[in-house]
Symmetry: C3
């Protein structure tokens, strides 16, 4: 996949996550500056964590100013077009899913291009994909949505990162195959939300809280 196409997909991913951050800022009653900040944290956070871990110079988000554009556009868009803040939850999940789908592919690709082995590439791809959302939710003082036990979040990202790593090793990674991998991730995430697909709880013995002392 050429660098230009990779950058383009990355910027679209930044935009999707930035919209999710700006929507959360709107829901929490933050102001427009808080919207830009939370959108930037969601959109750029995962990539900054990845680049800090790769340890090859300053993160792209700081050395290349174009990364700020999608974050600013996202805040403006939410400011001018959001009709109903209280019903924006589903919208937030959609944009978050879009960012997740693109970042697990581009994050893996960046790690592999930086010389990491395939396993570490998958790990960094997943970190990129879930990192921005975790930073967004922690900063807004919410339990990160990756921990919501009612649907799948990290598993689709892992599948997407593994697909991207496999395609890259075979030399088959291009805009179409990369986009298809991202589409699979997006679809899995959305279907898990729609049909309540979920993983088992962390403890097999866990039972829901009953009335009385607990």
């Amino acid at each position: 996949m050429s660098l230009d196409i990779s950058l383009l997909l990355d910027l679209v991913g930044v935009f999707f996550f930035a919209v999710s951050g700006s929507l959360l800022a709107a829901r929490k009653g933050f102001d427009l500056i808080g919207s830009v900040l939370l959108g930037s944290m969601a959109g750029l956070g995962g990539g900054v964590v990845r680049d800090v871990i790769l340890n090859q110079g300053p993160p792209a988000a700081f050395s290349n100013p174009i990364y700020l554009v999608p974050a600013l556009v996202a805040s403006a868009l939410v400011y001018f077009t959001l009709k109903n803040v209280r019903r924006s939850g589903r919208l937030l999940l959609m944009f978050d899913a879009g960012g997740l789908a693109l970042f697990c592919v581009t994050g893996t690709l960046k790690a592999l291009d930086a010389g990491m082995n395939p396993g570490a590439g998958i790990l960094l791809g997943v970190t990129t994909a879930v990192g921005g959302g975790i930073l967004r939710d922690i900063t807004a003082n919410e339990v990160p949505s990756v921990f919501d036990p009612k649907d799948l979040y990290a598993i689709p990202a892992f599948i997407g990162a593994a697909l991207a790593s496999g395609l890259w090793q075979l030399g088959w990674l291009n805009l179409f195959t990369g986009g298809a991998a991202a589409a699979v991730v997006f679809l899995l995430r959305i279907l898990s939300l729609r049909y309540g697909w979920h993983a088992p709880l962390a403890a097999r013995s866990w039972t829901p809280r009953k009335a009385g002392r607990g």
Copy 2:
């Protein structure tokens, strides 16, 4: 601006933010060690994030032990002199504003000295200035004060970073002009608190929660 003066301003900024962290620790009922930890996180966190992003060796706070002194002094000061914990909110905001004012100037300067371009310098200056407070509040499980929609926080920091970047490019940055830029930031922040200056909300359509279902 000579390195000594820059270090001095930086240490004063660390002290201001460390006091804000120690005051928050006192308000939350943490112990003296928690006060040192939260003060260090507030005072050193923004600079550590900046230095990690600059990626030029270990952060100053870890390689230069003098950075721990203001954090320890701040905790001791709060321990011995704070009279009324519950009324310390205004004091916290004052010291936080002082740290914000100094860090947006010294953070920008450090980034420019490290070879970043002016735009990235401003971005890193703002990151340095707001980073410590965000880490402090996240760690104490509070919504970061940068997101408080009732006053201005990031905008004064941005103005200060832009002023510092401009002065640096013109070769006019010295103790007086740098101090003046910091004073402007401090004043803007305090006036916004005093007169309720604030930015528009993240969503134009947002209306306050009314009685009944929301």
Copy 3:
């Protein structure tokens, strides 16, 4: 201390902290994937922060896949063996104490091996030891246990890091002395929990909240 032994102690520390993360995931009602994520964050977070600060290439947790094994084993163990989620609090504290004890020693050692001075080594050892637990608790939206004023947490870690640094400088650090330092830390932490040893509060003037307005 040879690299193999150091790696072994480090992996045991990762396992202990990962169990604490998986137990917290179980208590919060997260799913098995959330358990792996929170366990990894607790087990690997402190070391990743240390390695990012040391700035000598990608963190070990990302370049050496063996670091994922204890995190996966911990989640599986909690999933299959945990009998009573609601009473797992004490278990969590035990495993957390084990991780703390090992990480303040191995973290200091890694920092000294990377060429940091003894003071910075102690600082990074404490950061490694408390970092994973702070990340775990912040991510799960809890006040980090390092701030609990009812017992000692950072002080045992500091003592362990200082012991490790002293032993290293004297050339006396081996599996036995390192293990003994870790045992001292573990014992101090457990005794502080058992007997309520604690540090003074952050503000001398603080008094518990009384009835009426506060």
